[in-house]
């Protein structure tokens, strides 16, 4: 087990390195740079000013030199300074990471809270109108993009209540009500989207378990239906559900990119969109690495959980 874990941990290094290299190349392949964009609002900036600033930022260096500088920084875990604001990348990310993390956790809670009960109900009431309603609801989650749902939510709130989610973030520990008043809406939009896959997985997994011999035995022994479903069926069907929910969390983290923009939530997603638009290479590289790390880590944790949840699974 120990060797397996160390092996998996070591494997993360080339994965993340690959992501870093790919991001470096992709960002440079796309035309335009931060200096051109900085002066894009006015057409009257002479070329001399642009050339001088490019030199200051090292953008005039050959690509291979820029790559060597970048790799040196990656190895030292030094992400440098934002080309747009000249502030340390860690400072730019630091204030936003917590917001995105909270939003992702909130969305995951909403997603799970919707998915498990709905999935179980749909399975128990298979082929009834309840089952069909749950399936339509979950297919809706897959069909509607969360950003579109977000736009509708805000419009509905403004038109019906003349109220919109706050524009300013307040930490949860300072004012939980104000905090949730801002984050609950994007969490609902994203959570609904990601509950869809988990609902369908819960339904099929519970259905499968409900057909097992031990469930039939439990029923034959006279165990109540609720107990059969909760204690016998649900427990044993949770493994694939947890896998899906965990992996969806990683996707969800990345999926916040557009939704944060719609709700004007000051998180990592909004920062990434701005950074890409500004061709802020160091910032984009760092944020993509964070998203990738979350993805890789969640996968790693899921693998460990397999062993914990199902004693039959052993790693060698």
């Amino acid at each position: 087990m120990g060797r397996y874990l160390i092996g998996r941990l070591l494997l993360m290094i080339p994965t993340l390195l690959g992501v870093a290299i790919l991001t470096f190349i992709l960002m440079r392949v796309v035309p335009g740079d931060v200096v051109t964009l900085r002066y894009s609002q006015s057409g009257s900036v002479p070329q001399e000013v642009i050339d001088r600033e490019r030199k200051q930022l090292g953008l005039d260096k050959p690509l291979q030199d820029q790559f060597v500088d970048f790799m040196g920084q990656v190895v030292r875990l030094d992400f440098g300074k934002s080309l747009w604001t000249d502030r340390p990348v860690t400072e730019e990310i630091g204030s936003r990471l917590g917001i995105t993390l909270e939003l992702a956790i909130l969305a995951a809670i909403i997603s799970t809270a919707l998915a498990i009960p709905l999935g179980v109900i749909a399975a128990v009431k298979q082929d009834t109108w309840v089952d069909y309603a749950v399936r339509v609801f979950s297919i809706g989650g897959l069909a509607f993009p969360s950003f579109w749902l977000g736009i509708l939510m805000i419009l509905a709130l403004v038109v019906w209540f003349r109220w919109a989610p706050p524009l300013q973030f307040v930490p949860l520990w300072e004012d939980p009500v104000a905090n949730l008043a801002q984050l609950i809406w994007p969490a609902l939009a994203v959570g609904y989207r990601y509950s869809a896959v988990a609902t369908r997985m819960t339904r099929s997994s519970v259905l499968e378990v409900l057909r097992e011999d031990y469930v039939r035995t439990a029923r034959a022994k006279g165990v109540g239906e609720t107990l059969v479903v909760v204690r016998h069926a649900l427990r044993n069907s949770l493994l694939p559900v947890i896998t899906v929910i965990s992996l969806e969390f990683a996707f969800l983290f990345g999926g916040l990119v557009v939704t944060e923009q719609v709700f004007n939530v000051n998180g990592l997603g909004k920062l990434l969109v701005d950074a890409v638009a500004h061709r802020d290479y160091p910032l984009v590289q760092a944020i993509v690495l964070i998203f990738s790390s979350v993805f890789v880590l969640v996968n790693f944790v899921v693998d460990i959980f397999y062993g914990v949840l199902d004693p039959r699974i052993r790693y060698s």
Binding site: V30, Q41, S42, A164, L167, L188, F263
Partner: protein, 560 residues
């Protein structure tokens, strides 16, 4: 407490509402939409007495890349940062178009008989936010940084101060500008909204200090900047204008999403956005809020030019360029496009209705500006035929555009439609993301492109800067990439002319030459500003640009 419960009640209500049958609600917009112009409500600030107090919340659609306006070219710097700074001169907030008034200057400048020496007296009660008094040395240091930036500092304003020979502090409150030649644009140059006055000692210690720090003499004192969220400032109790500012505080929210901008105004989370909304956003807000919304509209010193890549055949052929210019019905286009995007007026190289604008009667004589659209199309076809194109061998090219909806997309689609109507042109739309689009324009990697320009003032030296030869002063600005020494001389001559009437004549001649004769670079339709805002906001007068009058010193809030 009630407000705090609203979101949670709203969740429940939304779920209920989703199940309820559709029908009109109390807050549903029922007012008929108003067309451009008819929704405009004239500001009544002059009739009302300003009331002190309150917080102005406003939207800024992008974040400042730097706090140093000297190095910036974006409104995103000016809108949150300007309230903390003063200028030597500024546009009169009650006019906000062309009337220049003193800011920290104590009266208008004294100009010598040869027009080469400009003497500016300063007010003696101007204090920086740390308590230090603003002196002539600070003004000199500021303008030296602008015209002669030290190592590691860039100054996009260097060219606008090219006429300056020297700047000296004659005494603590007197600054003298010596010019190399009489300049028709120098007054505008020292009223530029970008020329914040900085402290000489700070600049001496670190010329980049102001890029990340804020300390001015303006009506508001910096409180905080939370990146990605908001900018806050509070009233400066020691502001040098007695009784001003009226507001207690300011809060600028950074919102880039267009829908969220509209809903922020609609829900009164923000009271105003100073750059401009689309006609659709205006109509949505007017429908929803009725008389709680005031709308001001104005022609804008912004336009989109059609840039022809003259380095590439057949756009090096003047007949082809003229034909492309002639095929466009600007008058019809302006009228139609104004209903859906932020363009309206037809003009030459200077803003329509501005002080240098050519009268419509003269403008209509320039090819491409005929009232009779059919005449333009016929002449375009004739020129294209002469250039060797026919229905079976049409002029085929891509029209490079920025992938920004307002106003680029509708403007480009309209222009392409006009060209394709000739039957001899087959133009296709190529929209690229801003960075890629700019890279293509700069590197002449396009056929025909939609360029743009925005300025803070109706000033030929600013608006004609793009027209200089691409290998000379127009390097990096002139995206048609032509060289024309005759035109360079014409632009230079108007800049040196100090008689306003003569200068206007010279500028109009340049317009006829650039658009009609050479078709080097031709405007489509000029932009039009639409600002729908909460009626509580008073003392704001829309200007011809979105850069000036951003110190907020004249704004106040009614009905607190």
């Amino acid at each position: 407490m009630i407000r705090r419960v609203i979101p949670f009640v709203a969740i429940a209500a939304l779920l209920l509402a989703a199940c309820a049958p559709a029908g009109p609600s109390a807050a549903s917009p029922t007012a008929a939409p108003t067309g451009a112009g008819t929704a405009t409500t004239a500001p009544t600030a002059a009739a009302e007495q300003p009331k002190p107090g309150g917080e102005l919340t406003y939207i800024v659609t992008a974040e400042p890349p730097t706090f140093d306006a000297h190095q910036s070219t974006t409104f995103a710097t000016l809108m949150p940062v300007s309230p903390q700074y003063s200028l030597l001169y500024k546009l009169d907030p009650a006019d906000n178009v062309s009337k220049i008034v003193p800011d920290v200057a104590d009266g208008m400048p004294t100009i010598s008989a040869d027009k080469l020496t400009w003497t500016v007296k300063l007010k003696s009660n101007v204090k920086f936010h740390d308590g230090a008094t603003l002196t002539a040395d600070d003004v000199v240091a500021t303008y030296e940084k602008l015209r002669n930036p030290p190592q590691g500092v860039t100054s996009p304003r260097k060219a606008t101060l090219a006429a300056v020979e020297s700047i000296t502090a004659k005494d603590a409150t007197t600054v003298e500008f010596k010019l190399k030649f009489p300049s028709g644009s120098f007054q505008a140059a020292i009223a530029s909204p970008w020329n914040y006055l900085y402290k000489a000692s700070r600049l001496k210690e670190d010329p980049t200090w102001y890029a990340k720090n804020v300390e001015g003499t303006g009506p508001f004192v910096f409180v905080e900047y939370v990146k990605g969220s908001h900018w806050a400032a509070k009233k400066n109790p020691n502001y040098f204008v007695p009784g001003k500012p009226y507001l207690d505080s300011l809060k600028a929210f950074f919102i880039s999403d267009v829908n969220r901008q509209t809903t922020a105004i609609q829900s009164k989370q923000a009271l105003i956005e100073f750059r401009g909304f689309t006609p659709q956003q205006r109509d949505q807000l007017v429908r929803a809020l009725g008389n709680e919304i005031t709308v001001q509209e104005s022609p804008w010193v912004c336009t989109n030019y059609i840039a022809f890549n003259t380095k590439k055949a057949p756009f090096d052929n003047v007949k082809v360029r003229q034909a492309l210019n002639l095929a466009i019905d600007r008058w019809g286009g302006g009228e139609a496009l104004s209903k859906q995007t932020i363009v309206k007026d037809v003009g030459g190289l200077m803003r329509p209705k501005g002080p240098f604008a050519m009268p419509d009667a003269d403008l209509e004589k320039i090819p491409g500006y005929y009232r009779d659209a059919a005449k333009g199309q016929d002449e375009a076809k004739k020129l294209l035929t002469e250039a060797g194109f026919s229905a079976s061998n049409p002029l085929t090219f891509t029209f490079l555009n920025r992938n920004v909806t307002t106003p680029y997309e509708p403007l480009a689609l309209f222009t392409i439609d006009q060209w394709n109507k000739t039957g001899l042109i087959k133009a296709t739309h190529l929209a690229k993301e801003t960075a890629a689009y700019l890279a293509d324009l700069r590197n002449a990697n396009f056929d025909v492109g939609l360029d743009f320009n925005c300025d803070y003032f109706d000033e030929p030296d600013l608006q004609l800067a793009k027209m200089y030869s691409a290998s000379g002063l127009g390097k990096g600005l002139n995206f048609s990439h032509y060289d024309d020494p005759d035109l360079d001389k014409m632009i230079e001559a108007q800049g040196h002319e100090t008689d306003a009437a003569k200068r206007k004549q010279l500028v109009n001649d340049i317009e006829r030459y650039v658009i009609g004769e050479k078709a080097w670079m031709v405007p489509v339709v000029w932009w039009y500003r639409v600002i729908p805002y909460n009626t509580r906001v008073k003392g704001y007068v829309i200007g011809s640009n979105h850069y000036t009058s951003m110190d907020m010193s004249s704004i106040w809030l009614a009905g607190q």
